[in-house]
């Protein structure tokens, strides 16, 4: 009997996986289409990279299209397990296709470095292995920053917004990709409407950001590229010196404002936009904490730097401290000066902020402010329990009770987060890096921040790492963007057990 049933069973298992391939095919097809934008830029500017896209689009769309058509018969509703598999595949396969233009346009770029670069972009990390960004074809820089922008709101969210075919299974996909501990809140009754709404708000804010950059003195193309990187909190720039290139207070202020905006929950932006009121911001406890911590740290570090006479006057100190603190805390990764030259505390504090400051549902990385707040309250709760054995306490956030299940999930999340940082740091140290570089590179990658300290500090980049170390960082960035569990679950035996 067992023998008879066994092939049957494998077939259905295969069919399930084929249905995932089917969905992946569609997403790849669309992703190939988005390369038309840098192609148009390239063709318009005649920057010499036109050919790179021709082939890339052809390969990507053809692969996606064939995968889709070939598996169309297996198309069906995705289940929870399939959703996780699809999300992981989307986030690993698409960046591979995205390397095609880079590989063709930049001589001597290895696949390892190119994949690192596209993963860095799409996970909104902003770490780079490229130097001489100014000499690259303009369209290549557009493509790099465009990846940040698309990855910021999420590839799946984008797919759900434009593709009705994902249907009910889309809800699982959405949850697997959206950052934050509480993913049940629906903004609209229909998921596709939610996805569209989020992208609409994202696009509107982006348009405002680009306009502001342009008014503040950037050239239109620069304004667009830096808008992409700002809104996605990615931190790619078209200049090696990042914002040091512009040396303009106005531009830095615009950047600060929009980095802070992108660090808020886009669901809050959406509610405010739909209701034409600012009330949702006032109600958003997480936003308050995020703004207080980030801006407060900026001011605090300014005073600290001024007091240590790093900068002669408080105004200059405030300008540099605020921009770099907001940039790192929101996990963007722009820099306007080499803050590695500041006293070590400043750099470490900024890196620390990046691990928890941004809001759930924003384009930032790290463990998110809401998780930090829940953890803090859980600790407080333990203290109360010791002092008052009969006390009944619950973790509350923003006026509502956080169910214990979520508190435990957050605790597990933090454990995995710390375990990942420790183990990856050890691997990096074992591979020959100094502790500061290894630790800061891992933290900056897991948090999707970008620049670390030491060899991977703001004045240098990840070019000096070996291939092995580069792959570790690539893995760390993906882990961070998919919030650990979505990626890790695919590697567990439970996932593949029937």
């Amino acid at each position: 009997m067992a023998r008879l049933r066994s092939p049957d069973f494998t077939a259905s298992e295969l069919q399930r996986n084929l249905s995932v391939v089917n969905a992946l095919g569609v997403v790849t097809l669309i992703f190939g289409g988005t390369m038309a934008f840098p192609l148009a830029i390239s063709w318009w500017l005649q920057d010499g990279a036109t050919l790179a896209y021709d082939v890339a689009i052809l390969v990507t769309c053809a692969t996606g299209g064939i995968a889709w058509l070939a598996t169309n018969r297996y198309r069906r509703e995705l289940e929870v397990r399939d959703a996780f598999l699809l999300v992981v595949l989307v986030w690993t396969v698409l960046p591979a296709f995205a390397t095609l233009p880079l590989l063709r346009a930049i001589d001597g770029l290895t696949f390892t470095d190119a994949y690192f670069e596209t993963i860095s972009g799409i996970t909104t990390t902003g770490a780079t292995v490229l130097t001489g960004l100014e000499q690259l074809p303009v369209s290549i820089n557009v493509w790099r920053t465009q990846l940040v922008w698309m990855g910021g709101m999420g590839l799946i969210v984008l797919a759900v917004a434009v593709l009705p075919l994902l249907g009910v299974g889309g809800r699982q996909l959405f949850k697997a990709e959206t950052p934050g501990p509480m993913k049940e809140s629906k903004l609209t009754p229909r998921l596709a409407e939610t996805a569209k709404g989020l992208w609409l708000v994202y696009a509107l804010l982006s348009a405002a950001c680009m306009l502001a950059y342009w008014l503040a003195g950037m050239k239109p193309l620069d304004a667009m590229m830096h808008m992409f990187a700002t809104m996605g909190l990615g931190g790619f720039s078209s200049y090696d010196a990042s914002y040091g290139e512009f040396d303009s207070v106005a531009i830095e202020v615009v950047a600060i404002v929009f980095m802070l905006a992108a660090g808020l929950n886009f669901a809050t932006h959406f509610s405010a936009f739909r209701g034409h009121s600012l009330a949702p911001y006032r109600r958003d406890q997480e936003a308050k904490l995020f703004l207080i911590v980030t801006v407060g740290s900026g001011v605090g570090l300014a005073v600290y730097l001024w007091w240590l006479a790093v900068y002669p006057d408080l105004g200059t100190a405030l300008r540099f401290a605020m921009f770099n603190t907001v940039s790192i805390a929101t996990t963007t990764g722009f820099s306007s000066t080499d803050y590695a030259q500041w006293p070590m505390f400043a750099g470490l504090w900024m890196l620390f902020l990046s691990s928890f400051s941004t809001s759930a549902g924003s384009t930032g990385g790290g463990i998110k402010m809401v998780r930090a707040a829940i953890l803090y309250q859980q600790v407080y709760r333990e203290f109360v329990r010791i002092l008052h054995p009969s006390a009944y306490t619950q973790v509350k956030f923003g006026g509502s009770v956080v169910p214990n299940a979520i508190v435990f999930a957050v605790l597990a999340f933090l454990f995995v987060y710390i375990a990942i940082i420790v183990s990856l740091t050890l691997v990096m140290v074992a591979s020959g890096l100094d502790v500061l570089t290894a630790f800061s590179a891992v933290v900056a990658c897991v948090n999707n921040t970008g620049p670390g300290l030491g060899e991977v500090g703001p004045s240098s980049n990840y070019q000096s790492l070996t291939d092995f170390q580069t792959w570790i960082c690539t893995f760390a960035m993906l882990l961070g963007r998919l919030e650990l569990f979505t990626l890790l679950i695919v590697f567990t035996p439970v996932f593949w057990r029937k």
Binding site: Y392, T393, K396
Partner: protein, 473 residues
């Protein structure tokens, strides 16, 4: 007056009892026939069994010619629908509903005439909560009630040796605190009322009722007793409707601990409250009280639904060192039994809330009615209508008004801007004058007169005095 009362629960029956004694025609409607029979057995009223939100039941209860409908069932929805029906189908002039959910209370427009048509909403739990909050704000007082929208307060306080005025004649108060105008409305010595004159000497143990502007309360109180240190720590036993509301009202100002026996309720409480420490356990459990340092509490409030439990936990808390204990007691027989002994203050929710209802039932135009001394005495804020010809009070000096013995005019609130002739509404604003009444104060038209009656029996006579004679209107 013909009054229909919906709901024969605690509030409904207390109101019915109080109103029957004031010669009104009462009909009580309830779903529970047993409860109605019990009520009809010892009160002179009519009962109708059924759902008060059904037109047929309302008609059977005589809503067609009722002057007032009082919807005080457990359900907000029933009360609201009944008021709407009373307004549209039976044209009942005055509609009062008990609304407990703050979700409704937050939206005034829900009660507008074109919507649910409710003239007055009352929330007994809220009234009791405010009452206790004031007692905690003035921990030395026995009772604090508001008049003229809180501009004037009537405070009951026990005089103790150590207060500068104790052992001295009342007239000396002017020399003690020359800048503060206040008036002692009544003194109860060994539970017997005394009408104070300038020569009355306050003795240790007297229960003194005085009236003063809100900001002067503390100054006057300091004359009558040594002041305790202000309240910092409060423990509440019972996380029911009143307990949780009180904790919410207090938690931002004081350190609040709340004991609740039911774990499920603890879940609800932790949703509603923020900085209050919620303890799961029995409030009569000595060990729990000990570990939570009941002895260091400035105030202990026992607010569960169980009278016996409240009394026992209060006694326990008092013995373990709680500075002041406040106990909620539903059964009126118990209230007098325990008040003033080991238990500092016994509160009867029915007595506390009845005033809010009586305000709208009285024949005279009352702005506020407060039941005092656990229902024995009463203070009223009556509006003086008419003119010197039609009224027995307007244009007269206080000493010339023929008030019954035992009633005192304590204060007058006068509108700074005189009313236009066609204006009837008499709400008191923040800028109106508060005049502490003296023997030569002259009452004017539309004054809010605050009258203290040492006994409830005097109230109809006072109302009659303020009633406008034939010819007016």
């Amino acid at each position: 007056m013909k009054i229909v009362i919906l709901g024969a629960g605690q509030v409904g029956s207390t109101v019915a009892e109080s109103l029957v004694s004031e010669a009104n025609d009462i009909t009580v409607v309830d779903l529970d026939g047993e409860r109605l029979r019990h009520l009809a057995d010892h009160l002179d009223l009519r009962t109708v069994e059924g759902n008060g939100a059904h037109p047929s039941i309302l008609r059977a209860a005589g809503a067609e010619d009722a002057d007032l409908i009082l919807a005080v069932t457990q359900s907000d929805q029933t009360n609201m629908v009944a008021c709407k029906l009373a307004a549209t189908m039976f044209r009942v002039p005055t509609r009062i509903a008990r609304i407990r959910s703050s979700d409704y209370l937050g939206h005034e427009e829900v009660f507008a005439p074109e919507n649910f048509a409710i003239d007055v909403t009352i929330c007994p739990e809220q009234i009791v909560t405010e009452y206790i909050s004031k007692l905690i704000e003035f921990p030395e007082s026995l009772q604090v009630v508001d008049f003229a929208n809180g501009r004037v307060r009537l405070v009951a306080v026990k005089a103790f040796t150590g207060g500068p005025l104790v052992g001295r004649p009342l007239s000396e108060i002017r020399q003690h605190i020359p800048d503060v105008d206040s008036r002692v409305a009544a003194i109860f010595r060994h539970d017997a009322p005394l009408i104070p004159t300038g020569d009355t000497v306050i003795e240790h143990g007297d229960e003194v009722f005085f009236l003063a502007a809100k900001e002067h309360i503390r100054t006057v109180m300091r004359e009558l007793r040594r002041m305790d240190r202000p309240v910092k720590r409060v423990m509440i036993a019972g996380g029911g409707n009143i307990g949780s509301r009180l904790a919410l009202a207090l938690e931002s100002t004081y350190q609040v601990k709340l004991i609740e026996v039911n774990k499920r309720a603890g879940d609800r409480l932790s949703r509603e409250l923020n900085s209050t420490l919620i303890l799961i356990g029995d409030s009569t459990d000595e060990e729990l009280l000990e570990t939570e340092h009941v002895g260091e509490m400035d105030v202990f409030c026992a607010l569960t639904n169980d009278d016996e439990n409240n009394i026992m936990s209060s006694l326990l808390a008092k013995r373990m060192g709680a500075r002041r204990v406040i106990t909620l007691i539903n059964r009126s027989a118990y209230v007098d039994l325990v008040h003033g002994g080991q238990i500092d203050i016994a509160i009867s929710p029915a007595n506390t809330t009845i005033g809010a209802l009586l305000t709208h039932v009285r024949r005279g135009d009352c702005a506020a009615v407060h039941s005092l001394r656990r229902g024995a005495a009463e203070a009223l804020e009556i509006i003086a209508h008419g003119d010197a010809r039609s009224s027995k009070v307007v244009g007269k000096r206080v000493e010339d008004i023929g008030l019954p013995k035992g009633a005192t005019i304590a204060a007058i609130v006068r509108r700074r801007v005189p009313l236009a002739d066609d204006e009837i509404a008499c709400a008191i604003g923040a800028d109106d004058d508060v005049i502490i009444a003296h023997h030569d104060t002259v009452i004017e038209k539309n004054d809010h007169v605050i009258v203290f009656a040492v006994s409830k029996q005097l109230v109809p006579k006072i109302e009659k005095l303020f009633a406008v004679g034939v010819g007016f209107l």
